[in-house]
Symmetry: C2
Subunit: 271 residues, 2 copies
């Protein structure tokens, strides 16, 4: 039974911090269902999951966790409740944590030449929002998600615990890239023949039936931060600035709901 | 300058609790923009806002707050920073709080005979989710939102601080009703000739172009809780069980994004 002072547990605990994740190229996945998602991801390559830590209570409740990890040759260890809590950034620790390799790939690897629907988040800082948009992108059939941001508008780390939880496993389902240079992202999307659509409350193109033809082709959606939306310069780089119509008296939609409406409008046009 | 011990401030502070809001029929609205929304709401009937508490800093930054409230005959008082913080349930108090009459109306008053799009939340417990769906309903042009729930699945109080913030003012824009009896809600919707659509991940009707004809008529959407979705019995009460298609490997969408996709599918069919 490992405790919070066991070096392996102490090393894993450091991954709660972004800098440590970046340095180690590893992150933590917590909870029965998310860990099962991670193990499914490791079915393709067992080296993707390095450690499974779980309490006796969780192991008793779901013996398949240990069985699956062991079958993949993943190191499994029982830990104390306190050790499990130390590996958690939530108020209700789940008692099971996997140490995984980070999921992000380079921009070129994320953007297949055949990509038809790509989500780009520009300077989105809230991990819950980013995770929700990754989940929605997966559901809408997107081919990739790019988290773009510079030093001024730093992109969220998709391996942040809250972001991982919000994706509900989707961060293992489609290619994710983190990119600092928005211009390079735009250039890469253009090279693949994607039409760039900037989601903008004051966009000249309305997202209604009249946009169907536009959405039918290969498309990349650019979404800005929850606080300020897309900066003007990035919006101007896009081929079209598209607004979700507001029929009532609301001023706008929030980021995650606007993205859901945009991505599902694309999904409808594609299917 | 009122302090946290001034009886009016102490009385307002109690409104942070649901039971006190229910008893007083009043609730708190915090922040410059939300308070402006409340004052616009009070333009129709100044008795809707009872007190405006603000710090010197906020009054200096936005003199129109006091001006508007005074013009409406609303009682205005400067308060200390500490008093303002005591009226806030956030980690960063905004320095301005209005005491408003609760916005909810009875079910019959909320559902106009001409209603063409109604949102019903059944047993939704998370105030942030409820607020986001109210905001999205407003944007999609919904005519009303009903928060339904019984003692087992208690409906969220839309006057909860987090819910108010998430609505971004939309709780002042369209009729809101809180109802305990889901059957009575269903009956009232039917009487008004609305087709009832239950959002359900395993629904038999797919929300794609084939559903356009169904959505073109007067419609009420029923959404279940974030944890369990709609209970089976309520889903069976609806005319159709509708699923948002999942094209990728995500298991589902979250409540707020699913509602956004459904409500905007209706908005598209209506406009």
């Amino acid at each position: 039974m490992l405790t919070e002072r066991t070096p392996r547990v102490a090393a894993a605990r450091k991954l709660l911090r972004r800098a440590a994740r970046l340095e180690a190229g590893r992150f933590l996945v917590e909870g029965v269902r998310p860990v099962h998602e991670a193990l499914t991801w490791a079915d393709e390559d067992p080296r993707r999951v390095h450690d499974l830590f779980l309490t006796d209570a969780v192991a008793d409740r779901d013996p398949t966790l240990e069985d699956r990890a062991t079958a993949l040759g993943i190191r499994v260890a029982r830990v104390t409740e306190k050790a499990a809590a130390g590996l958690s950034d939530t108020v209700s620790p789940q008692g099971v944590v996997a140490v995984c390799s980070t999921v992000t790939v380079g921009l070129d690897a994320a953007l297949a030449p055949t990509a038809r629907l790509v989500t780009v988040l520009v300077g989105v800082a809230d991990p819950g929002n980013a995770g929700t948009v990754i989940r929605t992108s997966d559901a809408a059939g997107a081919d990739a998600v790019v988290l773009a941001g510079d030093s001024r508008n730093q992109a969220v780390d998709p391996h942040n615990g809250k972001c991982v939880r919000s994706t509900m496993g989707s961060l293992f389902h489609l290619p994710l890239a983190v990119a600092r240079d928005v211009d390079a992202v735009v250039e890469a999307l253009r090279q693949r023949g994607l039409t760039l659509l900037a989601a903008a409350g004051d966009g000249e193109t309305v997202l209604d039936a009249s946009a169907d033809a536009l959405l039918a082709g290969p498309t990349a959606w650019l979404f800005g931060s929850e606080a300020h939306g897309l900066d003007e310069r990035t919006a101007e780089l896009a081929d079209h600035r598209v607004r979700v119509p507001v029929h009532g008296r609301a001023e706008s939609l929030n980021l995650a709901t606007a993205a859901a409406v945009c991505l599902y409008a694309s999904a409808r046009a594609h299917h």
